[in-house]
């Protein structure tokens, strides 16, 4: 009982940091998705050099631990900017660096997820689109993308949940998201109540991931309703 009230108390303390977690995640996911999309495109390019470059990029990024990525971005990027653009970005808020690092990390697995989903859409869909006179882009945007989206969804959710949990990266350069907040609470209690604090953290994350699960499964269900037969309407046919 005492533990439970402690956990609730910690939930209250951690919860305000959820905005940082969400802000960082939403922006990284947004940009990372676009970026991953371009990468997937590059990996299927007709140009060997483009394929080669994107493949290397994806391989390297996928193998890079979060903590190394954040250091590369946080220390390497200002260096590059100074050298190339004579721009001092050292004064940027640390949040920007976190977002850049997470975006890069997110883009690589997502590129693979999108590529495989795209390949799973039957080719005839594109041909049919072209022959009603749509341009390639129109076909892609209006016909292929919505279908690939649903195929990619479960794996995409996997990556999103992983990203949400990359708090270690965020905290490494001192941006206080929920994970960092939890660590600081533990520290400020001289290391005490760790179980309860991390329990509270786990609880919050669990709720978030349940929400994501819910979204995914209802999106899948909605799509299945389109793709497969509705029992009622079968009679009508």
């Amino acid at each position: 009982m005492k533990e439970l009230s402690l956990i609730l108390q910690f939930v209250q303390q951690i919860l305000p940091a959820i905005w940082i977690t969400l802000l960082i995640s939403v922006i990284s996911i947004g940009i990372g998705t676009i970026f991953g999309f371009l990468l997937a495109w590059g990996k299927m390019s007709r140009l060997k050099s483009v394929r080669w470059l994107t493949s290397i990029y994806v391989s390297v990024i996928r193998a890079t631990p979060a903590i190394i990525m954040i250091f590369i971005v946080y220390y390497g990027l200002p260096f590059l900017f100074k050298g190339w653009f004579h721009l001092n970005i050292e004064g940027w808020q640390r949040m920007y660096f976190v977002i850049i690092a997470l975006t890069l990390l997110f883009s690589a697995p997502v590129a693979e997820i999108m590529r495989s989903a795209y390949l799973a859409v039957p080719k005839g869909q594109q041909e049919a689109g072209l022959l009603v006179g749509m341009t390639k882009f129109q076909v892609f945007y209006r016909i292929l993308l919505p279908q690939a989206f649903v195929i990619a969804l479960p794996n995409f959710a996997n990556s999103v949940i992983n990203l949400l949990k990359e708090g270690a990266l965020t905290f490494t350069i001192g941006v206080v998201d929920m994970v960092a907040k939890a660590q600081m609470i533990v520290s400020n209690n001289s290391g005490g109540f760790a179980f309860e604090t991390y329990g509270a953290l786990a609880l919050i994350y669990w709720v978030i991931s349940l929400a994501i699960d819910k979204f995914v499964s209802s999106a899948e269900k909605a799509y299945r309703r389109k793709r497969q037969t509705i029992d009622g309407s079968r009679e009508a046919v």
């Binding site: 903590i67 490494t172 209690n189 760790a194």
Partner: protein, 250 residues
């Protein structure tokens, strides 16, 4: 006035941490603030961050100074600029079972009685202390390492006998075990803290900050001599750690 970036680790309560106003706080930070006051030509700006970032940031020059309960080692002095003068003392000791206190109340006895020491995070100062002891003494202490972990677990482990001694600092023990609402108040009486001695702590300067370090050296001398440092120590540690320096560390 030159602005100086000071990095502090946010998870080293009560030495460096972030208080409820989201401001840097703790013994090391308070001392640096006193130093700042004594140096009108400088203005310190504090940045709270992780242990890793304090170290890498100071090395790269992103931060001029870093504080996080840092002990001196010769290897570190190659990479960083240690000032001549220390700015604090850490009350380091073992948490042991009260009934086994006699068996493990010093480094020597721990080795003699084959006591098991809770693994220490290598980035913590204590790790180097033991490693240093092992260099100079035989038999050696079995030194296990593990990433920063949770104190209250370590206390439980010692109580259960999973380990015999936990190398820690006194305020931690007080907050968790001796305080009324402490996380491990149930272990009060079962566990005891024995002070091994005081270890000097330093701020860490970037190699290029010789001038700043020199100015610091001047200021800190006065702060310690005037007793201000002792006062700060009492505030954060509940005792004057500087007195421990008279005691031999073993």
């Amino acid at each position: 006035v030159t602005t100086v970036k000071v990095a502090y680790a946010t998870t080293n309560y009560p030495i460096t941490y972030q208080n409820s106003n989201k401001q840097g706080d703790g013994y090391d930070v308070a001392i640096m603030k006193a130093v700042d006051k004594a140096l009108p030509q400088y203005k310190f700006k504090y940045t709270g961050t992780s242990d890793d970032d304090v170290l890498i940031g100071v090395k790269s020059g992103k931060y001029a100074v870093g504080v996080k309960n840092i002990f001196y080692t010769a290897d570190r002095a190659k990479t960083y600029l240690f000032p001549k003068n220390y700015f604090g003392v850490s009350d380091s000791g073992f948490v042991v079972r009260t009934k086994d206190k006699a068996k493990y109340d010093s480094l020597k006895k721990l080795t003699k009685n084959h006591g098991k020491l809770v693994p220490i995070a290598p980035q913590n100062g204590q790790y180097a202390v033991i490693a240093d002891y092992n260099k100079k003494h035989t038999p050696k202490i079995k030194l296990g390492s593990a990433d920063t972990f949770v104190v209250s677990d370590a206390l439980k482990w010692v109580n259960e006998g999973r380990y015999d001694a936990f190398f820690a600092i006194k305020p931690m023990f007080q907050a968790n075990v001796e305080k009324k609402n402490g996380a491990n108040a149930d272990l009060k009486g079962k566990l005891t803290y024995v002070t091994l001695g005081g270890i000097k702590t330093y701020p860490l300067f970037n190699k290029d900050q010789k001038k700043l370090a020199a100015a610091y050296d001047q200021a800190i001398k006065k702060i310690i001599a005037s007793g201000e440092a002792s006062k700060i120590s009492k505030k954060y540690f509940g005792q004057d750690n500087f007195k421990l320096l008279n005691q031999k560390f073993d």
